[in-house]
């Protein structure tokens, strides 16, 4: 929308940028196919247990919290940054929400609402700290968020003296954490889906999203074409923090515990999902949809391997190998695209529309 009105600087960048975004969409599609194949394989191996309502419900529930974190992480990584603090911010926000809900009292929706405000505020506060340090103080995001990873967890432990809190109100646990919105559709997954759709719209259909891509592709070019880079970076990290805070409340509902010791691998799992989903860790390319599919793959693999009876340690090896292989294939295709050869995959070659457009772009 706003792209059509911008200065010529952006217009000249438009052709390659849109081609790259097309590639990232292709990547998301390819990942989707990998997911479908994985599901098909496990369904064939365990026809009576894998594709059951109970199992699908479980997989979706287990992905929900990661998906909420993944939306924020996608934005941060598209700017060329990283956020290692999401797990700790999640814990911290859960702790603050728990304390505030105990102070407010009650087991109903009013208490949950108060907790929600507390969780969002705590997450937002950490996001702002990250954003200001990255954008204004120019400390590398890896270092800033490594610092807040440690500090947020430390504060959570100071508040709780290291003891997990377990005071989630009944409405949060029974209706959001383990409840169904209709039939067997888990509420937590619907909540996460709403966040994901919001993220997709924000990234692909608004100026906020456009600026996010612009900073990641070339911050200097963005600045010269009128993007307030520093302010936008702060907003992106604040958004990621806000979502981590929200995830903290969901986590409290799902585990009925602040899981202080349990989130150390969360940021890495989320980053892996973002990378599998086709978002470039160098910034400028990526999609929220890809991230969601990328988060599903390790969880579906783990679920399937457990049902098939693969030894636990092999599950880690395979998930690691898939991560590297998928990103490698993506890299090959991207390199090919930059050389001007067609990035299309053979099985997509009949969808002529996209192909001819990309050829026009390279001419």
């Amino acid at each position: 929308m706003s792209a059509t009105q911008t200065t010529p600087t952006v217009a000249t960048e438009d052709a390659p940028a849109s081609r790259l975004s097309r590639i990232s969409r292709l990547q998301a599609l390819q990942i989707l196919i990998l997911l479908v194949v994985t599901i098909a394989v496990f369904t064939a191996l365990r026809p009576d247990t894998f594709l059951t309502g109970f199992n699908i419900r479980g997989i979706v529930q287990n992905t929900a919290i990661y998906a909420v974190l993944g939306v924020g992480m996608t934005f941060v990584i598209i700017t060329g940054g990283i956020d290692l603090s999401v797990g700790s911010v999640l814990v911290f926000s859960g702790v603050v929400a728990d304390k505030v809900m105990v102070w407010y009292g009650g087991q109903g929706w009013a208490t949950v609402l108060v907790g929600l405000v507390a969780a969002l505020a705590s997450g937002l506060a950490w996001g702002l700290v990250n954003g200001v340090l990255v954008a204004k103080a120019k400390v590398p995001p890896l270092v800033v968020t490594l610092g807040s990873l440690s500090a947020a967890l430390g504060f959570a432990q100071i508040i709780t003296k290291g003891l997990d809190l377990r005071d989630a109100p009944q409405a949060l646990v029974n209706d959001i954490g383990f409840g169904n919105i209709v039939g067997q559709v888990p509420t937590i997954a619907v909540v996460a889906a709403v966040v994901v759709v919001f993220g997709i719209v924000l990234l692909h259909r608004t100026r906020f999203g456009l600026y996010t891509y612009a900073i990641g592709s070339n911050a200097e070019a963005g600045r010269r074409s009128g993007v307030k880079v520093e302010r936008h970076l702060i907003k992106v990290y604040a958004f990621a923090g806000l979502l981590a805070g929200f995830a903290g409340l969901l986590n409290l509902g799902f585990f009925q515990s602040t899981t202080i010791g349990g989130q150390s691998n969360t940021p890495l799992n989320v980053i892996a999902g973002v990378a599998i989903g086709g978002t470039s860790l160098f910034g400028g390319i990526g999609s929220v949809f890809g991230t969601v599919i990328g988060l599903f793959i390790p969880i579906v693999l783990q679920n399937g391997f457990i049902q098939v009876g693969v030894q636990p340690f092999w599950q880690q090896v395979v998930v690691g190998a898939v991560l590297v292989a998928v990103v490698y294939v993506d890299q090959l295709r991207r390199a090919a695209a930059l050389r001007g050869t067609s990035p299309r995959l053979p099985f997509l070659s009949r969808a002529g529309g996209a192909g001819s457009a990309s050829r026009k772009g390279s001419a």
Binding site: Q30, L34, V37, T38, V41, F42, L45, R46, T49, F50, F54, N55, G58, I59, Q61, N62, G162, L163, D164, R166, V173, G177, N251, F255, Q256, S257, T259, I260, G261, G262, N265, T266, I299, L301, Q302, N303, G304, F305, I306, Q307, V308, G309, V310, Q311, P312, F313, W314, Q316, V318, A321, V322, A325, Y328, V329, L332, A336, T341, R344, L345, P346
Partner: protein, 328 residues
């Protein structure tokens, strides 16, 4: 170019298929025989690759073989409810007749385990338990409080003049280690010759246990005894004492008797071990599960004992029997 990426995708798919197929081979027989009287059991460990749970697994497999049942074993990479929940959920989806599980949190695992019960699966809690253990047909665990008391008795013998004692725990909220820590604390407080310095939590991380112990020795250089209430805490505590150069002065009593701890006991870095009976827990767990499946009455609570192993008893037949196994 096109061909290359196609090949890679194909290889990926083949690897996934191959891995999956291998796995299915190993328990292919269980599905075939599942229909008749051979029950399918699943064992969800607290953490994968821990000698305690491996020894329990050995007990479970042995007893299951006797009862004509098959067992699949799964565990998460860390002792952590956020990792155990998806593992348990996948196990439930594979529809075993009964699940033996060591819950990693008294509250967080309550709902996921209740879901298993709702699917008609019989639950046996092994080693750890829940806030409301009534979802399970039986809960089998070591008498952990008595184990903690035994750890203090071991320190009393090793340091008869008394002094400061410290606890190194895992993390709060685990029923078994909480009970051990409490058993130890109560016994230590009851003896006026000893000063109890409280318990520090290692989050099941040996590196963290090491830094806790070396920091504690900076503050109180005259500590005479440390009770490390699980495997990794004991490993880390021994490292921390070595860092501080206090070998010989500080007596470490470890809980559990994995191969590393037996080695540490032989080397003299740990002075006593409180061995539980994980194999026995496993055997009784299978017996209770099968009883429940046959519709027989269950014992809701079973407690198993513990053994103190010191350097003197380590090579005795009892000491050898009490040590945990690294593989079945």
């Amino acid at each position: 170019m096109k061909r290359k990426s196609t090949v890679i995708v194909a290889v990926l798919a083949a690897v996934a298929l191959g891995a999956a197929a291998c796995g299915s081979d190993s328990d292919g027989g269980s599905n075939a025989g599942g229909g008749s009287d051979g029950y399918e059991l699943a064992f969800v460990q607290g953490v994968a690759g821990d000698a305690f749970y491996i020894t329990m697994e050995c007990g479970i497999k042995e007893e299951a073989a006797k009862q004509g049942a098959t067992v699949t074993v799964q565990g998460a990479q860390k002792f952590d409810p956020t990792l155990q929940t998806p593992v348990l959920q996948s196990v439930i989806a594979s529809k075993p007749d009964a699940i033996l599980i060591a819950p990693t949190d008294v509250a967080a695992m309550q709902q996921p385990i209740a879901q298993a019960k709702a699917q008609g699966i019989k639950i046996v809690l092994v080693d750890t338990t829940l806030n409301d253990p009534s979802v399970a047909v039986s809960a089998i665990s070591s008498d952990n409080s008595a184990g903690g008391k035994a750890a203090f008795e071991a320190i009393q013998k090793l340091a008869p003049n008394g002094g400061k004692v410290l606890g190194v725990g895992v993390q709060p909220g685990i029923s078994t280690t909480d009970a051990r820590d409490k058993g130890f604390a109560d016994a230590a407080k009851a003896d006026s010759k000893f000063t109890y310095l409280g318990v520090q939590y290692s989050q099941n991380d040996p590196a963290k246990a090491a830094s806790i112990v070396s920091a504690a020795l900076q503050k109180d250089p005259d500590i005479v005894g440390i009770f490390a209430s699980n495997l990794f805490s004991a490993q880390g505590s021994a490292t921390g004492i070595r860092q501080a150069g206090k070998q010989g002065q500080v007596n470490v009593v470890g809980f559990d008797a994995g191969p590393e701890q037996i080695k540490a006991l032989q080397d003299g870095t740990v002075q006593a071990l409180i061995a539980q009976q994980p194999g026995d827990i496993g055997v009784q767990g299978v017996q209770q599960a099968v009883k429940a499946l046959k519709g027989e009455a269950n014992e809701a609570n079973i407690q198993t004992g513990s053994t103190i192993i010191t350097k003197d008893t380590i090579d005795s037949p009892e000491g050898k029997a009490a040590a945990y196994k690294a593989s079945c």
